[in-house]
């Protein structure tokens, strides 16, 4: 074995070891969810179980309206992903392809918007949605639309910052060529530029999906009386009681919360890496 292949073996082993350490908490979470109650609370924890059971999952799934909350969360997260991608794309084109007054100011504003602790904004937002609800009941408090809107708004600043790199990476010459061919600017935007930055949109959508899926600050603030519009995380909060460590239930709830995000990740993974790579070619 020469030095080079020994080096390679070392690198491979390290990568696998790091992977094991990184994934271990997730493995432990899933494992604990499948363990019988007595074994989870055991003073002698073991990294396997001889008696896997669905007991904890059954307990979590028996939360009234679980399916409904799951669908609500999915609707919110997917709507935010789609809307956010559209708005982010247009705004990113504006700030990369054009020079105009206040461009830098706007970019700094997008940064500042991310620096505010969200909790501090819930009160002004609450009253705004309440008042909006008087004129347009469809987007008032207690509606999924209010959650979609607020998640959309808070996903934009980071999305635009990320997307800027992706748009900049597309050579201007491609657009110019299309323009010479007589394509209108609107057409170029949708049929030339959009497909080219699609991987980048996939990458940014990961962030908007996670943020929308995991949120419970806004969900618990805006959804007051309409229990049918609760989201999954706020419903599963029932299991996270600091005083009563029902670890089996907590782990099953955590697993059910993590799996959809993981599926979304795996779905966009390939695009994610190539998309992020595109951003560097600036």
């Amino acid at each position: 074995m020469n030095a080079r292949s020994r080096w390679r073996l070392g690198a491979n082993t390290t990568a696998l070891l790091v992977a094991v350490v990184t994934a271990f908490p997730i493995f432990w979470m899933v494992l604990s969810a499948f363990k019988p109650k007595g074994e989870v609370q055991s003073l002698d924890p073991r990294p396997w179980t001889a008696h896997p059971t669905l007991e904890s999952f059954r307990q979590v799934l028996s939360v009234d309206g679980f399916g409904r909350y799951f669908v609500n969360s999915l609707v919110i997260a997917l709507s935010v992903v789609v809307l956010s991608a559209l708005v982010v794309f247009l705004a990113a084109v504006a700030v990369t392809r054009f020079r105009f007054r206040f461009r830098t100011t706007i970019m700094v504003m997008f940064l500042i918007a991310q620096m505010i602790p969200v909790e501090a904004l819930t009160i002004p937002l609450f009253f705004m949605f309440r008042d909006a609800g008087r004129f347009a009941p469809g987007i008032g408090l207690n509606t999924l639309a209010s959650l979609i809107l607020v998640q959309l708004a808070f996903s934009l600043p980071f999305g635009i910052w990320m997307m800027r790199g992706f748009v900049a990476a597309v050579p201007v010459s491609i657009e110019e060529a299309a323009q010479i061919d007589g394509a209108s600017r609107t057409r170029i935007l949708w049929t030339v530029l959009l497909p080219l930055v699609a991987p980048g949109l996939a990458a940014t959508s990961v962030f908007s999906f996670i943020a929308a899926w995991n949120d419970f600050v806004f969900a618990k603030t805006f959804i007051i009386s309409a229990t049918e519009n609760q989201t999954l995380p706020s419903a599963l909060l029932v299991f996270f009681k600091p005083d009563e460590n029902d670890w089996g239930g907590i782990m099953a709830a955590s697993t059910l919360m993590t799996v959809p995000v993981l599926i979304f990740f795996i779905a966009v993974q390939r695009k994610l890496v190539s998309g992020l790579a595109g951003a560097v070619k600036d």
Binding site: L43, I123, P124, F126, F127, M128, R130, D131, L141, N142, F216, K220, T221, F222, I224, S225, A226, T227, S234, L237, V238, F240, K241, P242, D243, E244, N245
Partner: protein, 436 residues
């Protein structure tokens, strides 16, 4: 110099806005004293989602059926709200800030009452309760926890008081009887720990406010004392300091080692005792089922928590939940009637059977105590006199800022002595009362 100009413009704009109501933060107009009073339709009720909620739901469902058949055209819709403190607070604030989302009837922790009243959330129901047949049966000390400035805002539904659980097997082995004074309690921790080095003398916690307060009250101290119509911090008085010292002195090798116990909440001490890890614990009667599910099953008994004087009982905190009618209720009369049904003798007894929560009606208390000898130390504790946190919305702030736990933890971890820690706590308590 565009920056300067723009800043000036912004300042002018802000100043204009300050003057104009249009830019002020949103507020909700509090509902008038005369709330809407539909006699039909859907009565919205929010109750706490507690551990073992299925049993509670079953009892409440029976009450709903009974109520609906007595009131034609009325549907009762009960939602069980998350008891996690921040989620619950968000929900209640939402109901205050958006009256149209508010329910008619809510269950709430009795320490939350002053804050909810200040928020304009609860309706005064004193006059309604005066007409209630069972009013005279309410325990007066407990009834007082729902009264603020002479007005009644809640109907006490159940209470929980804490007493001393101890392991009979360990005590017998050590040749000890149940402690009847603080000194005997300390001696017991020493003797048992000497024989079983892996066992804690007593399970207590640095975050267990309601485990610590009985020691303070027993010593003659308090969190704050009423001085005229204003509260004044009293946690640093000589008597309070004695009590704090007695509680924190238990965090030693024999009692509950600081390393293990400094960050425990009351709930965690239940786990320790249930797992057989501790010889004593200060727990409510509702912890019984949890203890019975653990290693300590059939090996324990309960006595009132002893005070410093031999044979005395340390005053317990009268924690519990009330039923309250929202100011924004749309069915005020129905809400009061449903509360009276739930808190009436029949359903109080059933709630005890289902959840183990102590009734607030004296007659029901006597009845359940007679049927269950286990309850005697708890009813004795209530009879000996219970205490309460300052009935003022400042308590919400003192509680949220973890003033008492921080004080206890500073002493327990040796970061500060009792005088310094209680002095700091007093400063914060004073500022909380002054904040309004």
């Amino acid at each position: 110099m565009r920056i300067v100009r723009r800043t000036t413009a912004a300042a002018v704009l802000a100043a204009t806005c300050l003057a104009a109501a249009a830019c002020s933060p949103g507020t909700a107009v509090p509902a008038g004293e005369k709330a809407a009073d539909d006699k039909s339709g859907t009565l919205q009720v929010w109750l706490y989602n507690e551990a073992g909620n299925a049993a509670k739901e079953a009892v409440v469902a029976k009450a709903v059926t009974e109520f609906q058949s007595a009131h034609q055209g009325v549907t009762v819709n009960v939602s069980y709200i998350d008891t996690d403190a921040s989620a619950r607070a968000a929900k209640m604030k939402g109901a205050f800030n958006d009256p149209s989302s508010a329910p008619d009837l809510v269950e709430f922790g009795n320490t939350d009452l002053p804050g909810y009243v200040a928020a304009g959330g609860l309706a005064e129901i004193g006059a309604d309760l005066d007409k209630w047949a069972d009013k005279g049966d309410l325990d007066p000390a407990i009834a007082k926890t729902a009264v603020l400035d002479g007005k009644t805002y809640g109907l006490p539904w159940w209470v929980g008081v804490r007493a001393l659980y101890y392991r009979t097997d360990l005590f017998t082995e050590a040749g000890l009887a149940a402690p009847t004074s603080y000194d005997e309690l300390v001696a017991a921790t020493r003797k048992i720990h000497a024989a079983h080095s892996d066992t804690f003398g007593i399970a207590i916690g640095g975050k267990y406010t309601f485990g610590a307060l009985p020691f303070v009250w027993d010593a003659g101290g308090d969190i704050a004392a009423k001085d005229g119509d204003k509260f004044k911090a009293a946690i640093n008085s000589a008597a309070s300091q004695t009590g704090v010292k007695r509680y924190t002195d238990l965090f030693d090798e024999a009692g509950c080692p600081a390393q293990q116990c400094a960050d425990l909440t009351g709930g965690k001490t239940v786990d320790l005792f249930a797992a057989g890890k501790a010889a004593m614990a200060i727990l409510p009667n509702s912890s019984r089922s949890k203890v019975d599910a653990g290693a300590a099953k059939d090996k324990y008994a309960v006595v009132p928590l002893p005070g410093a004087k031999a044979g005395s009982i340390a005053p317990a905190f009268a924690g519990g939940n009330n039923l309250g009618v929202m100011k924004a209720a749309k069915h005020r009369t129905l809400a009061v009637q449903f509360a009276q049904l739930l808190a009436g003798p029949g359903y109080q007894e059933q709630m005890y059977d289902a959840m183990g929560n102590l009734p607030t009606l004296k007659s029901v208390n006597a009845k359940v105590a007679a049927k269950d000898a286990f309850l005697k130390p708890f009813t004795d504790t209530i009879a000996a006199g219970t205490r309460f946190v300052p009935l003022d919305q400042a308590w919400a702030q003192i509680d949220a800022q973890a003033v008492i736990p921080t004080m206890l933890q500073q002493v327990v971890t040796g970061k500060a002595d009792v005088a310094k820690a209680s002095g700091d706590a007093a400063t914060q308590i004073t500022s909380a009362f002054a904040a309004r």
